[in-house]
Symmetry: C2
Subunit: 203 residues, 2 copies
DNA sequence: TGTACATCAGTGAACGCGCGTTCACTGATGTAC
DNA sequence: TGTACATCAGTGAACGCGCGTTCACTGATGTAC
């Protein structure tokens, strides 16, 4: 278990808030949303349950924080995947690959951490700040690239964004809930990626 | 609260199993997945908690049953919506409308009962029978119609099915989780419906 | 540099509660004769 | 049609448990002088 920097003593923790969210995240990842609890988390952080109330108002709020952290984590994976795409002779080829990369990363995350994907999109009563999501901004950047390389008409870009997000998210959700199996996945993936490109790319 | 036919006495219930699933469904619809419990349901059905164990092995199994019932309910809504589409001069127009109708019904369900949509696609450890889903069959029927009316090439029909399902499901899921608002919804809806048709319909 | 003191971030005990599940039981039902 | 009896579908009490949250507290920290 990770325990962040302590300041010489064991009485004060140093960065309890962050440690709690991290441990909560791991708990959800391994045992599902319903196993998230104040006492369970406190136990794993080696701290009294009551201590958590210095940093969170309620279990519900903690849940919200975890949800937020996971959404950020997803976006970071997307950005990382996009950056891993190497150079290409054609800018069209490259921006297309970068576009696919973020979609694949989104789904890959859902495959790898289905429980986390679940909590990321749970109906949360208490959400932390409704800033525009990093994932959405990443998608927009990618579309801008596609426009610049002449693959996408600007007037189609909003349509592209909404269609891409819906279908990729749907795919991810069906995978995470095991509604479609690993065997069926490649077909779905191809249909969705091709479909989005058929629908919005200039030809 | 609905209580089904009793057989003269109050000691034996008549159809407890069905009543339980129904009440459990309503409980989830109103208060969310996490509020589903043996005791809560038993209380509402006016029966001892232990009685439920005559019909279900565990809470987990009950959850699975509810999930299954909801998926059926969704499919029934889809079929109903499809049947409501009136006649049209062109069979193309009609089958296209019937296709849109089932997609819209899917999303409409998620909008109306977000909590039920949630449980329908929760990772369930104990699922009741993995029969091919009624919703999927309904989608296939609709695609067959599109083929017959010349709108869809047969070789594209599998791609159409997977793309349509992913994107509609994604839209429904984003709506249910309130990730997209009512205001944004019409744009998303149009993008998805158009996108699917752009991608797979013969021109 | 040393000391007094306010502030902060923990402790530990207790609260009441509702939970899933078990068990020996009993009342009602339906069947065989 | 009436009766004996097996089967079924409930009851009611109890089990141990872990939960979220509260509160008065205390040890550590950092700041003012």
């Amino acid at each position: 278990m990770l325990t962040p920097l302590r300041k010489g003593s064991d009485y004060h923790h140093g960065d309890l808030r962050d440690a709690v969210i991290q441990v909560a995240r791991d708990l959800v990842a391994n045992e599902g949303v319903s196993s998230l609890g104040i006492r369970r988390v406190a136990l794993r952080v080696n701290v009294t349950p009551a201590a958590l109330y210095r940093h969170f108002e309620s279990l519900e709020q903690l849940r919200g924080e975890v949800s937020g952290r996971v959404r950020n984590e997803m976006a970071e994976m997307m950005i990382l995947a996009r950056e891993k795409v190497g150079p290409a002779t054609l800018s069209k080829t490259r921006s297309r690959a970068r576009f696919s990369a973020i979609g694949d990363a989104y789904v890959a995350y859902a495959r790898k951490f289905p429980r986390l994907f679940e909590i990321a999109f749970l109906t949360c009563d208490a959400l932390p700040e409704t800033e525009e999501s990093l994932a959405w901004r990443t998608l927009e950047e990618s579309l801008e690239e596609l426009i610049n390389s002449g693959l996408l008409e600007r007037r189609k870009s909003l349509k592209a964004a909404t269609l891409a997000w819906s279908s990729i998210h749907g795919l991810a959700s069906l995978v995470a809930s095991q509604t479609i199996s690993n065997k069926e996945y490649p077909l779905f993936r191809k249909s969705v990626l091709d479909g989005v490109q058929d629908a919005v790319f200039a030809r």
